[in-house]
């Protein structure tokens, strides 16, 4: 049998090219929509609170400067808090997107590499047993997150990182730290309030110092993640195919796990255990823009900004003056929305 010669010379049809172009344009539109959402959420977050500041005024204060009580509120409280929320959104969304890619598991998120369990355990030891050192919460939680990651790395290392071993080691280590957390909360049930806020994740009272801590991780993480977008795409073809395309699979996976770990650990150390963003935001972005990491990473990051800052606004405003932990708001609103996306996609 001969291969049909007409087939051999045929080029991509015009119809095909149009379809491809339409798909690309759709993805770019969605990303723009996410960007718009991010900007609106940030504006709303700065505008709403005990004192409402009109959005025009918000931007004129941010861009041109200005005087009056609004200036104090914006620059000392709302703007830094909103920025931290945005960066936390970026960090967790990117970490989740990266981990879902390299672990080949749709349920992968920063929790799977032990970030939350490690940070939580260390934070709670500090908050409950050594409350006089409360100001060290961020570095201690960060150390806990990194330590848990390292333990999982070491346990699952054998000629490179194998996703299934990471996931199993992650479950085991998380269970171990989780038991420690529960034990402490039970023994010291009179001191759990601060600990509960940390466990649920909260942006309350976060300001410029935390912003400065978080900034380098976000910047480096974003740059590294975007540099690795194409390699993540190659990795999606499976280890064997990635290897035969010349990718160093073990090193790439190791390095990307480290990037995800730092992104997530820095975020969690500052705002507490926000579990939801890292799992759901990349998925929601994936359902809308597809699996190409060159667009999925920026889209996830932008959606992460929107989701966290908007949820934080609601957390502050809904039951004011009482503040709800932002993690609770996110789960209550995000989960149904995500299920809706999933059903729509399954049609």
């Amino acid at each position: 049998m001969e291969i049909n010669n007409a087939d051999l010379t045929a080029v991509v049809s015009n119809e095909g090219l149009t379809k491809l172009r339409e798909r690309k344009i759709w993805r770019i539109w969605i990303t723009f929509a996410f960007l718009t959402l991010a900007l609106i959420s940030v504006t709303v977050s700065i505008s709403k609170g005990a004192m409402t500041i009109p959005w025009r005024e918000v931007w004129s204060h941010l861009l041109l400067g200005g005087e009056g009580p609004a200036r104090e509120v914006i620059w000392n409280i709302r703007f830094p808090r909103t920025l931290i929320g945005a960066m936390v959104g970026i960090n967790l969304a990117l970490a989740g997107a990266i981990l879902q890619g390299i672990m080949k598991n749709p349920l992968a998120d920063p929790q799977i590499i032990g970030v939350n369990a490690g940070a939580g355990f260390f934070a709670i030891i500090l908050l409950i047993l050594y409350p006089q050192y409360n100001h060290l919460l961020t570095p201690v939680a960060f150390a806990g997150a990194v330590l848990a990651c390292l333990i999982i790395y070491i346990l699952s290392w054998k000629d490179g990182i194998r996703p299934i071993r990471v996931i199993l080691a992650g479950v085991a280590v998380s269970a171990f730290f989780g038991a420690g957390i529960t034990g402490l909360l039970v023994f010291y049930s009179d001191r759990v309030h601060g600990a509960m806020m940390f466990m649920a994740g909260s942006l309350s009272t976060r300001s410029w110092p935390q912003f400065e801590t978080l900034l380098p991780y976000t910047v480096i993480g974003v740059v590294l993640a975007l540099c690795f977008a194409r390699k993540l795409n190659i990795l999606l073809l499976g280890d064997e195919n990635a290897r035969s395309l010349g990718l160093h699979v073990e090193w790439t996976r190791l390095l990307l796990t480290a990037v995800a770990a730092l992104l997530a650990a820095s975020a969690v150390a500052i705002v507490g255990l926000l579990g939801f963003v890292g799992l759901i935001v990349p998925h929601a972005a994936r359902l809308l823009v597809g699996n190409d990491y060159r667009i999925l990473l920026p889209a996830s990051a932008l959606l992460g900004i929107g989701v966290v800052t908007l949820s934080d606004t609601l957390a502050r405003v809904t039951f004011a003056p009482t503040e709800v932990p932002v993690g609770v708001v996110m789960a209550v609103i995000g989960a149904p929305f995500f299920l809706y996306l999933l059903r729509r996609e399954a049609r």
Binding site: M1, E2, I3, N4, D7, L8, T9, A10, V11, V12, S13, E15, G16, L17, K19, L20, R23, R230, N233, I234, L236, L237, G238, E240, N241, R243, S244, L245, G246, L247, H248, G290, N291, D292
Partner: protein
């Protein structure tokens, strides 16, 4: 010219030796087919040639260089692999996939070379997948999917192509189409091919050399007519066969006549 060479390699995993001291020379521009019963170690050999499994002993060479010390990207521009049952994200299009074949040619600081697009087009037309460039891999039939993956391999512009049971999940028509395509690429581009096949008929029809593996050793190797005989069928595949010559093609031909029960 010897292109690929296995020199007394022992392959396997710590407690489980699969290939025991095997040597093999692969000559440039020829088609080699590895045949053997299940569990004989033929996939393991291919895994080592594709650098997915380091030899425990011995060395694999690509022209005088140790295969396992060549930088990954450099190797990927010289050797491409079509793995068994490859999987990809469900929304990947044929064009996306074939473009991935250019990955090893890309430099970090340089944008895709101008001829990338030309080579991708060429690879798709060689394998006949141009008309389905915009379709998602999920929507393709088995044969089309295999051709799309082959197009990705071609986009690497390799001189060696490794194929792991390229026809296993295809119907007869698409099996033959795949084999013809491989033969044609070998003839047109001088591509050296090393593949694993289960179908001995195809092995005879399309290979320059056949390597028969039994229990982790090379049982015999050579031209099809030297290798395919009644004794081989009995000793390697434990079946009885009548072997003769095809009147139509002059190739060695066989008919399996029965099972040998042990």
């Amino acid at each position: 010219m010897t292109l690929l060479k296995l020199d007394e390699v022992t392959l396997g995993y710590r407690q489980n030796l699969i290939i025991d001291g095997m040597s093999l020379d692969v000559e440039a521009g020829k088609i080699y087919t590895i045949i053997g019963p299940n569990g004989s170690g033929k996939s393991t050999v291919l895994k080592t040639l594709s650098r997915n499994l380091k030899p425990l002993k011995g060395t694999a060479y690509l022209q005088q260089r140790n295969l396992f010390t060549i930088p990954g990207k450099e190797l990927a521009t010289r050797m491409a692999v079509l793995n068994q049952k490859p999987r990809a994200p469900e929304d990947l299009t044929v064009l996306d996939l074939v473009e991935h074949g250019r990955f090893p040619h890309r430099k970090r600081w340089r944008k895709g070379a101008a001829d990338d697009k030309k080579i991708v087009d060429w690879a798709m037309s060689q394998t006949g997948v141009s008309p389905m460039a915009e379709r998602k891999l999920d929507s393709l039939s088995g044969g089309e999917g295999q051709r799309a993956w082959l197009a990705m391999a071609l986009a690497q512009q390799p001189s060696i192509l490794l194929l792991d049971e390229p026809t296993t999940y295809l119907d007869i028509n698409h099996q033959l189409e795949m084999m013809e395509l491989v033969k044609q690429l070998n003839a047109d581009l001088g591509l050296t091919v090393v593949m694993i096949l289960h179908d001995i008929q195809h092995a005879i029809q399309y290979s320059d050399y056949i390597v028969v593996i039994k229990n982790g050793r090379i049982y015999s190797s050579g031209r099809p007519q030297q290798v395919i005989n009644e004794k081989m069928f009995e000793e390697v595949f434990t079946v009885t066969a009548a072997v003769g010559q095809s009147e139509r093609t002059g190739n060695v031909a066989f008919e399996i006549t029965g099972l040998i029960r042990r």
